[in-house]
């Protein structure tokens, strides 16, 4: 199973997680793990998700979340997990 990392970075406000999670649920994307932290005053959230059963392709999910991010004033990125494993794991 290829896992996908979803990151949300921006100014903290009410409903960010709700908005993202609603989209994920609607598109059959399973959340495996969530963590969040504040770095230099910015809200940082990371989700590890499973898109294997998703009703859309990674490309479409990425574009959709881009739009949602714009609406709520945060930057949402969707990346395959491998890039982080390659860089940080031997």
């Amino acid at each position: 199973m290829k896992k996908t990392i979803l990151t949300v970075v921006g100014k903290d406000s009410v409903g960010i997680i709700a908005k993202v999670c609603t989209y994920l649920a609607e598109n059959k994307i399973n959340i495996l793990d969530i963590s969040q932290t504040i770095v230099q005053g910015f809200f940082n959230m990371m989700m590890i998700v499973d898109t294997n059963e998703a009703s859309k392709s990674l490309d479409e999910i990425s574009d959709d979340l881009d739009k949602i991010g714009e609406e709520i004033g945060v930057r949402i990125q969707v990346q395959l997990e491998d890039i982080f494993n390659m860089m940080h794991r031997l």
Partner: protein, 454 residues
Amino acid sequence: MININEVIETNKMILEENLDVRTITMGISLLDCKADTVEKVCDKIYAKITDRAKNLVSVGQEIEKEYGIPIVNKRISVTPIALVGGGVCETTKDFVKIAKTLDKAAKEVGVNLIGGYSALVSKAMTPADKLLIESIPEALASTDRVCSSVNVGSTKTGINMDAVRLIGEIILQTAELTKEQDSLGCIKFVVFCNAPDDNPFMAGAFLGVTEGDTVINVGVSGPGVVKKALESVRGADFEVLCETIKKTAFKVTRVGQLVAQEASKRLGYPFGIIDLSLAPTPAVGDSIAEILEEIGLEYAGAPGTTAALAMLNDQVKKGGIMASSYVGGLSGAFIPVSEDQRMIDAVQAGALTLEKLEAMTCVCSVGLDMIAVPGDTKATTLSGIIADEMAIGMINQKTTAVRIIPVIGKTVGDVAEFGGLFGTAPVMPVNQFSCDAFINRTGRIPAPVHSFKN
């Protein structure tokens, strides 16, 4: 499992520190493009390139999107054209037809540069090699995306001084033919000593005859990431400094390795090598000179520069080699002047001279790169500069190269504008004393004594 801080670190490198994969270069052998007329050879070349590389750009874009890592360039390198066209090309015009075919194929598949309009003449030239070299000015002036290179020396063979002399003239002719655009043609031409067969970086990329039919080579980058990492260890000792560079180079190279594997898998052609070079761009924060400044120099070119660069280059290799089993190409820090804003600033401040750059090339890849000199520089002087650089490569058993631009109509104090990734170059002064009698000797410089290892 991956944790949030690691994710933040990677994305910060990409979004704020210009981490990117500089190029995916597909090497395509043209040795099987044989026919009895130039036209038929051109047709076969066009058919092969447009077939092999048809998905190169789209696959590159796919990988960019899925991993969130920019892949700046998608390029092609081909077999040296002197070998491909040697059997059918009887005039320089015939070779130019092949150059135009390469240009057309590059445009069709959407790559921004195609390299391999090349000849390998480290010992001597065949008539075909000579014809190809003589066709370079017209080939570069009449195409947009074709890059050319000539290997004129090696540690095993010595330096072909007849070729060095000829190339001084070829560079001037190329400059003259493209003088309306600040002699732009010359930025697409490199002269090498010990040229590697698997270099993915332009303008010197070609697919050597030791390579397979089609191969994927990847060039990584990331000067900005190294610079940022060094900011966090200001004032620390050399051990900490070296450790920081190594770790950063490792991370950068691992990303390259991932992209190379994915590209190879999706395109269906084998992965060749990762080239570990730190390659700057004119963008602020994407500069080798800035790293040297962070190490502790007021400007690149100040005393200590060669030592700092030697250390940087070595640590980049040590970190990178651990990250990929197949490292090749040029693999070292590039020090092009026009493509690195702080190098330009160093030249303009009077800190960096041609002679200091020559010293720097002894300890890093690749050579005198993207250097603008006055347009009235003599051909023999250009050949003398090339010969010096080739000698450094030959004796030190390393690749060296010269990409020099005599900017017609401009002189010291002027600035040449090349645009985009190629940047702008302040015209640098050249030593005015003559080397005519030296360059006008014919023949070659013999191989050095340490090449006799058998």
